[in-house]
Symmetry: C2
Subunit: 253 residues, 2 copies
Amino acid sequence: MKTMIPIDPASTQAVTSLGREQPRDELSLHGETLARLRDYIVEGNIPDGGRIPERQLCEMFGISRTPLREALKVLASEGLVDLLPNRGARVRQLSEQDLRELFDVMGGLEALAGRLACENITDHEIADIERLHYEMYGYYLHRDMPGYFRVNQLIHQKIVEASRNATLLATYGSFAGRIRRIRYSANFARKRERWGEAMREHETILDALRRRAGDELSDILFRHLRQKRAAAVEHLSEGAAATGAPTSTSSTP
Amino acid sequence: MKTMIPIDPASTQAVTSLGREQPRDELSLHGETLARLRDYIVEGNIPDGGRIPERQLCEMFGISRTPLREALKVLASEGLVDLLPNRGARVRQLSEQDLRELFDVMGGLEALAGRLACENITDHEIADIERLHYEMYGYYLHRDMPGYFRVNQLIHQKIVEASRNATLLATYGSFAGRIRRIRYSANFARKRERWGEAMREHETILDALRRRAGDELSDILFRHLRQKRAAAVEHLSEGAAATGAPTSTSSTP
DNA sequence: ACCATCAATATTGCATTCAATTTTTGATTC
DNA sequence: GAATCAAAAATTGAATGCAATATTGATGGT
């Protein structure tokens, strides 16, 4: 057994600072832990449905269980983990249904963002997005999927930012995090045949944005996300078929 | 020194049943406390910007600080409370800007709900909503504001439920809770002159729903919420003017 | 061999304790 | 009498302790 010794302030400080490159004004261990644990999970360090080892993570982060458990409750409310009474926390496994729902909500949020962006976006911001659009087109022509994907995400992000709605931005970010795990978990890539279609959709997005046609952009963005949804669900079921992992949340013991 | 008041299971169960999001058989003190504290705050038992007395609430709920503090972190992530480092938790005071943002997000979620509802709603559900609509019209004719308001909320709830998207439903509920505080805090009532307009909007909502015109319903619902937004912001600024309370979040000490 | 049973062990949920702040109080000075 | 400041008290953030609950592993019966 370990002999717990009262820790003097100096050593506590040392433990806290381990692994931290930024001396940010993060005052609370809770906030720090929350961000670190969320990243840890979103980046896929724990497999889908995998148990979250409290004690181990405490040692890893150099903290006690209290702030870690607080972070777990928050992540559970965000939908990233499941909390099983007396049986610990597990990384939430998304079913196909979950994924469809999540993409539809993302679609709704982007549709809203597009609508609001048309009300608030500046010419300068549109020019920015146009630049990104042509950069993305370049990646498309060169068949550079990772580059395309990165800029694509950036364009959507810029539209949400142009909505001038911090609440929407935060909500969008939270949902994006829940979906992002999937991308890390495997080489999530749009089917080739859909790629050209997506590129054309982006043309119409840019066009509606230029004309500041809110209703129209709203519809286009929702449908665009529906296409992404189809690709994601397809990807998930293929991945499940390959590994034999269940895709439904119905856990009958 | 401490007079802990043990709570019998029956009473806690009763309080829990007020909760919306987690209708499961809550075993954990954390989940129980979360629901209770959320209701306590949403119902306006603590004034806007007011300090949340940890110790007092612990005694009130008959629990220790650990589960209460866990609940506070979750409520902070939901946007209901602010966590000030070393200075405790406070009920989040909504600025006019916050309120505008919240109503726009609600508008986006309802617009999405309307779109999805048109894909999934059954004839039976439409008939249900029609019935509610005419019931609401009755309240309108009798100038029964509370009755109107209650059924109005119910109609919107039914549309969100008809979307068949549990994620959307939960998110909608969470945002509704953040706004609901305002309603409790004062006699939030739509201006008379806008009442007729709102009633007409509901006619078009029902019409679009009957025709299952998703794009159209989506637009109508967003605009409908924009009207509500205007009323809410107006109400907030009037209330602020009356009490002399600040409406902005900029807290310069 | 296979499966049930039960003790040993580990983990969880919450309470309690402790150090570090912040807030309040009360004396003191101008 | 108002302003200032130090000591006391209260409050907060986090660590640790402990009972209750799961999980594991050994044992014995079929």
